[in-house]
Amino acid sequence: MKKPFSGISVPLPTTPPVKRRYSITQDIVPFRRCARQYGTFNVHKYAPAYQTQTYFGTTLHQVLDRCHSHFHGIIDPATKGLLPDNGKILGDQDILDYFDELRIAEKLSTAPPTPPSDIVKYFVEVENGLKSRGIRAIKSDNRLQVVRILQYFNALEGPVLYPRVIDTEHRLQADRTNHILHGVVDLLVDPTTSAGVPEDYEMWDYKGSTRVGLNPKDLENYEFQMRVYAKLYELKHGVLPRRAILYFLNELDGPTCPSKQPVNALIEVSILPTEIDNAVIEFAKTVMQIEQARVTGNWQSAIPGDISEKDCAICDLRWDCNTPNGGKGVKLRYP
C-alpha cells in the first residue's frame, strides 16, 4: 500500500483547545463528594429519579435572591425597603392548599390562583424558571419545606440582613494555567453602618442542609469552597474579605419560626493565607482528576465514611455501590 503521510507525525495536544471553566459548587465540590455521582449526572447527563438534593438548594438560593431584590426594589421600585410579606408567615396548610389549587388549576386548565404571599409567588416563579432550563420541579413534600424555611429566614434574618446586603450572587473568577476557576458568592454583606470598603465585607454562603449531623468531609468541602472564594475575592478586590460565613438554612426548619438565630445555623470559616493557598492547590488537583476521569471514563465512588449516608440514601446509583452503610452497600429493593 502507498503511504501518503510518511514522515508526518502529529502529536496529541496536551491541553484542551479551550480552557474549561470549573465551578466550585457545580463541579469541584460534587466531584470531591462522589466522582461516580458527578460523572453520571453532570457529565453523562443521566436524569436522576430524585433531584431533591440539587434542586432543593437551587430553589432556596434563587428565591432568597428574589427576596433581596424585593427589599432593594429591583423587581418593583414600590417594594423598596419592604420585607417580602412584611415577614408574615403562612401556615403549612395554607401553603399546601395553594399547591393543591395550583395543581387542580393546571389539571382543569384554568388560570393559576393568585399566590397567597410574595414568597410563594417567588417560589413558583423560580420553579417555572428552572423548568425552562430543563430542571424539573422538586417533589411535593420538599416544596413545603422549602417555602417554610424561606419564610422563617425572611422573618428572622431579613430585617437586619437585607439592608446590609451589598451584592447577591457575586461572581468571581480567575484564569489558571489550564482551567478557569469560577464561583458565585451568595451574599456580600457589609456589617458596618458606614459605606464600607471591600475589606469590611463578609462573604455569606447558604447551604440547603443542616449543620448538625453534617459529614466532616462535607464540612471540609464547604470550608474549602469558602477559601477558594476568598482567594478569588482577593484577586478581584485586592484584599481578603473580613469574614467567610456559612449559613445552614435547614437549621431553621421546625413547626414554628425560631425566635432567634439557631446556634448551629451560622459558622465562620477561617481564611488564613496558608489555608487559602492549600485550597487553591487542592482545586487544581481536583480539576486534573476530573479531566483525567473524562478521558478514562473512570469515575470512582466515594470512600465509605467520606460521604454522608444521607447523600447515598437518595442516590440513584446506590444499588450497586459498595459505599453506603459504612461500606456494606444497601439492600436491593424490589421492584
Partner: protein, 740 residues
C-alpha cells in the same frame, strides 16, 4: 479602560490567545459603524473574532456588559464562548486593574431560547407569567393529549402533508397512526411559527391549508388554556414582548439603572430561521443598529430543524428593508486549520457546481478561502482511497489506519482520526461493513449512533426488563385496535423481550443478578400493591430503571461509552414522561396488582411514542471523543470540530428530499417575508444541502483528507442525479488526486 493597541497586544500573549489576529479579523473586531455582516469560512477563527469583539466593546469602549447580547446555536457553543471570554478577560484584568469591575455575568449570553426565557421572566411579561415551557418530548406528549389534529384521520389531508409524517408512505391505504400524526403536526406547527406564516393567507388558500390553520389555532388555544408554551412560541412571545412597554424598557433602558441594549452579536447565523431573524433585527433597532452576524452560508446544515440559510445570504436585504442601511461585509477568508491542498480541494468543490452559483444560494461576492495554516509539507494531503468494489473499501480503511497512520506513528492516538459518514448505523448499507472490519481487526471504535436508538440491545433489554417487572402477565399483548388487530406496540415489545431472552440465555453474558431482580420483583410488587393504602404506591418508573441499571449486564454495559450514552438517554426520556406526572405506579382496584389503566397509558402514550416516532439523537450533545477509540460520526456531529485526519466515506449517495425542503417551497406564498426571496425547487434545495454537507465534512481535516470511494462513486457521469463528490469534473479529480 484600555487602548486598542494594548488590548490587542495583551490578547496576543501566550497566556491568552497566544497569537495576534490578522488584519481582517482586527477589522471585524474594531468595526463600529452599525450592522456588520461577517462571512467566516471554515477555520477562519470566527469564534475568536466574536469573543475579541465582545471584549473590545467591554474593555476598550467601556460598553456596559448588560448592553450586550451574544447568542449562539447550542448550549455547548455558548459555554465555549463564555469560557474564552472569561479566560481572556482575566488576562486583560491582570494587566489593567481598572478592568477589574467588568462583570461578564451581566452579558446576555446563551442560545436565543434561553435569552428569550430569561428576559421574559425578568420583565414579568404577563402572557408569559406562570407558563410552563415544554421541551421537545413534552411538546410531543402535550400534542398527543390535547391537540385535535392528533385525532384527525382524513387520509387525503395526511397524504398532502406526507413529507412531515415519519416513516409513512404517501400511498399508504390508512391514515398514519396517532403518534405519527402528532409528530407531523408538531413539525407543521413549528414551521408556522418559525417561518412567520400569515395565517389569513393560509386560511384563504382553502383546502388542507385551511384545515391546518384551524388545527393550529386549536393547538394555540390548548397551549394558552393549559398555561404552556413550546419553544417556537417562546420566540413568538418574545417578539411580541419587544413591542410592549416592558420590551421598550429592555431595549432602550429606563434612564436610571437599566441600560439600553446596544450591541447584538449572533454566532452561526446561517442556522437562523425567519422568526429569529426578526427578533435579532428588533433587538438592534437602536441607531446605529449594532448587529453583528457571523456565519458561513456554505456550512448551513440545519434546514431540517427549521433553519434557513436565506437569512445569512440575504442579510443585506434584511438590513436595507429594516434599517434602510447596508451592512458592512467582511469576509474572513484565511483558513488557519487545513493544509493548503485541503483548502484548494474544498474551494474547488463548492465552486464547481452551477447549482451553487444561482442567485440567492450563496452570499454574494464571496472570495475563495485562502490557506494560512502552519500545517505544510509536500505530501498528498488530499488522498483518494479507492478499490474497485465498494465492499473492499472497509478493509482498505483498516489497512490505512493500522498499517500506516498508527504503525508509522503518523498519529499518536486513534482519536486523531475520524470516519465521517452520512449514517453511522450498523446496517449493511451504512456503517455496517466498516464497523465489522474495525471489530475484526481489533480497532476500538466510538460510535454512539451505531444503532438506531430503539434497536440497540441495551435499550431494548432495559425496556423489556421494565415490562417484565411492571407487567409480568404481559397484558400489553392483549390490547386490540378497533379492527380487532393487535396494537402496534405488541410486536416491538415482543421483540424487546426476545432480545432480553437471548441475552439472558447467552452464557458469555453475566445475567444472574438481573434475573434474580426480575423474579423477586414479580413476587414483591403484588405484595406492595396489597400493602398500600393509597392508589399511588409511591414508586416511579425511573426508580425501577435505576435498579435495573445496577444489575449486570447493564452495570457492565455502562462502561462502554456508546452504550452508556444511550442508557443515559433512556433516563432522560423517562424524565419527560415523569414531568407530565404520568409515571407514578398505581395499584388496581382489587389492590393486588398494577392498575391496568396505568399500564395502558404507559404503552399507548410512552412506549408507542418510543416505537413510532423514532427517537432522535441529541444534536446538541457536547461531543467528547474518548482517547484510544476511533470515532465514527455523522457529518452533523462533526460540525464545529476538527481532526488531523478525516476519512469521508459513503460518497456518491444522494440526499433525500424531506419535509424541510418541501415546506420551503410550499410555504413561500404564506411567508410574511421582510424581503423578496428566490423560491427554489425541493430537488435543487436537496442538492445544495448535500453539497454543503460534504463541504463541512471536507473542511474538518487539518493534516489529511482521505476520500473513500470506488471509481464509480466519484464518477459524476454515472451519477447524474446524485451529487457528485469531488465536484462535477471527475476527470480532473482523477488526474489530480493521489489514489491509494
Amino acid at each position: 479602560m484600555i487602548d486598542l493597541i494594548t488590548f490587542h497586544t495583551c490578547l496576543a500573549q501566550q497566556s491568552a490567545r497566544g497569537y495576534d489576529l490578522d488584519s481582517k479579523q482586527k477589522e471585524a473586531v474594531e468595526y463600529s459603524g452599525g450592522p456588520l455582516w461577517l462571512l467566516a469560512g471554515p477555520g477562519s477563527g470566527k469564534s475568536e473574532v466574536l469573543v475579541t469583539r465582545t471584549l473590545k466593546l467591554l474593555c476598550v469602549n467601556g460598553v456596559a456588559p448588560r448592553s450586550i447580547a451574544l447568542t449562539t446555536f447550542t448550549k455547548p457553543a455558548a459555554q465555549n464562548l463564555e469560557d474564552r471570554l472569561s479566560s481572556y478577560l482575566s488576562v486583560l484584568q491582570a494587566f489593567d486593574s481598572s478592568l477589574k469591575n467588568v462583570d461578564l455575568s451581566d452579558i446576555r449570553i446563551g442560545t436565543l431560547h434561553s435569552l428569550c426565557n430569561d428576559i421574559l421572566q425578568e420583565y414579568r411579561y404577563p402572557p408569559y407569567q406562570n407558563v410552563r415551557l415544554l421541551d421537545k418530548v413534552e411538546q410531543d406528549l402535550f400534542t398527543y393529549r390535547t391537540a385535535d389534529i392528533s385525532e384527525y384521520k382524513n387520509l387525503d389531508f395526511w397524504r398532502y402533508f406526507h413529507h412531515a409524517v415519519p416513516k409513512w408512505h404517501q400511498n399508504a391505504k390508512f391514515s398514519p397512526s396517532k403518534w405519527k400524526r402528532v409528530k407531523a403536526a408538531v413539525v407543521l406547527f413549528n414551521h408556522i411559527v418559525d417561518d412567520c406564516i400569515d395565517l389569513t393567507k393560509m386560511l384563504q388558500a382553502g383546502g388542507h391549508w385551511a384545515t391546518l390553520v384551524k388545527f393550529y389555532q386549536q393547538y394555540i388555544e390548548a397551549l394558552q388554556d393549559n398555561y404552556r408554551c413550546d419553544f417556537a412560541h417562546l420566540q413568538a412571545r418574545f417578539l411580541e414582548f419587544l413591542t410592549s412597554s416592558g420590551g421598550k424598557r429592555f431595549l432602550d433602558g429606563d434612564g436610571l439603572n437599566q441600560v439600553p441594549l446596544q450591541h447584538v452579536l449572533v454566532d452561526e447565523y446561517q442556522d437562523t430561521n425567519p422568526i429569529q431573524e426578526r427578533i435579532y433585527l428588533a433587538l438592534s433597532h437602536k441607531q446605529p443598529h449594532n448587529i453583528t452576524v457571523v456565519g458561513d452560508d456554505d456550512q448551513a446544515l440545519y434546514r431540517f430543524r427549521g433553519a434557513n440559510v436565506a437569512c445569512m445570504v440575504n442579510f443585506d436585504k434584511a438590513c436595507q428593508t429594516t434599517f434602510a442601511k447596508t451592512p458592512y461585509p467582511i469576509q474572513l477568508k484565511r483558513n488557519y486549520r487545513s493544509h493548503s491542498r485541503i483548502v484548494d480541494f474544498f474551494n474547488n468543490y463548492i465552486t464547481s457546481f452551477s447549482e451553487m452559483a444561482a442567485p440567492g444560494v450563496r452570499a454574494p461576492g464571496k472570495d475563495l478561502v485562502e490557506p494560512a495554516s502552519s500545517i505544510q509539507g509536500n505530501y498528498p494531503a488530499v488522498t483518494w482511497l479507492t478499490r474497485k468494489k465498494a465492499e473492499d473499501l472497509p478493509e482498505a480503511v483498516v489497512q490505512l489506519i493500522r498499517d500506516h497512520l498508527v504503525a508509522d506513528n503518523v498519529i499518536a492516538d486513534l482519536s486523531q482520526c475520524v470516519l465521517l459518514l452520512r449514517s453511522t448505523q450498523d446496517s449493511p448499507g451504512n456503517a455496517g461493513p466498516f464497523i465489522t472490519a474495525f471489530k475484526e481487526n481489533n480497532i476500538p471504535i466510538y460510535n454512539p449512533r451505531s444503532k438506531s436508538f430503539m434497536e440497540s440491545e441495551e435499550v431494548q433489554c432495559l425496556l423489556a426488563a421494565l415490562v417484565e417487572i411492571i407487567d409480568k402477565k404481559h397484558s400489553f399483548a392483549s390490547y386490540k385496535d378497533q379492527k380487532g388487530e393487535s396494537r402496534l406496540w405488541v410486536k416491538p415489545i415482543q421483540d424487546w423481550l426476545n432480545t432480553l431472552r437471548s441475552v439472558l440465555n447467552d452464557p458469555t453474558i453475566p445475567t444472574a443478578l438481573l434475573e434474580d431482580y426480575i423474579c423477586s420483583s414479580n413476587v414483591e410488587l403484588p405484595k406492595i400493591c396489597a400493602a398500600s393504602t393509597q392508589t399511588f404506591i409511591g414508586l416511579n418508573l425511573l426508580e425501577i430503571i435505576y435498579r435495573i441499571l445496577s444489575r449486570e449486564p447493564f452495570s457492565l454495559w455502562r462502561q462502554d461509552p456508546s452504550r452508556n450514552l444511550r442508557l443515559s438517554k433512556v433516563t432522560r426520556l423517562f424524565e419527560g414522561y415523569h414531568s407530565m406526572s404520568l409515571d407514578s405506579l398505581r395499584r388496581n382496584k382489587s389492590g393486588i396488582d398494577v392498575d391496568p389503566t396505568f399500564l395502558y397509558r404507559f404503552y399507548d402514550m410512552f412506549v408507542s411514542y418510543l416505537i413510532e416516532t423514532g427517537i432522535d439523537d441529541d444534536e446538541d450533545e457536547d461531543v467528547i471523543v474518548p482517547q484510544g477509540y476511533l470515532p465514527i460520526m455523522t457529518i452533523h456531529q462533526a460540525k464545529g470540530l476538527e481532526f488531523p485526519f478525516v476519512l469521508v466515506a459513503q460518497l456518491g449517495d444522494s440526499g433525500r428530499i424531506g419535509s424541510a425542503q418541501i415546506l420551503e417551497t410550499d410555504l413561500a406564498n404564506f411567508r410574511q417575508g421582510l424581503y423578496p426571496r428566490n423560491v427554489r425547487d425541493p430537488e435543487l434545495l436537496v442538492i445544495e444541502d448535500t453539497i454543503r454537507l460534504l463541504y463541512v465534512a471536507y473542511s474538518r481535516a487539518k493534516n489529511g483528507l482521505i476520500l473513500v470511494a470506488t471509481p464509480d462513486q466519484v464518477n459524476s457521469k454515472k451519477n447524474l442525479k446524485r451529487v457528485p463528490v469531488p465536484g462535477r469534473d471527475h476527470v480532473e479529480f482523477r488526474r489530480n488526486t493521489v489514489a491509494i
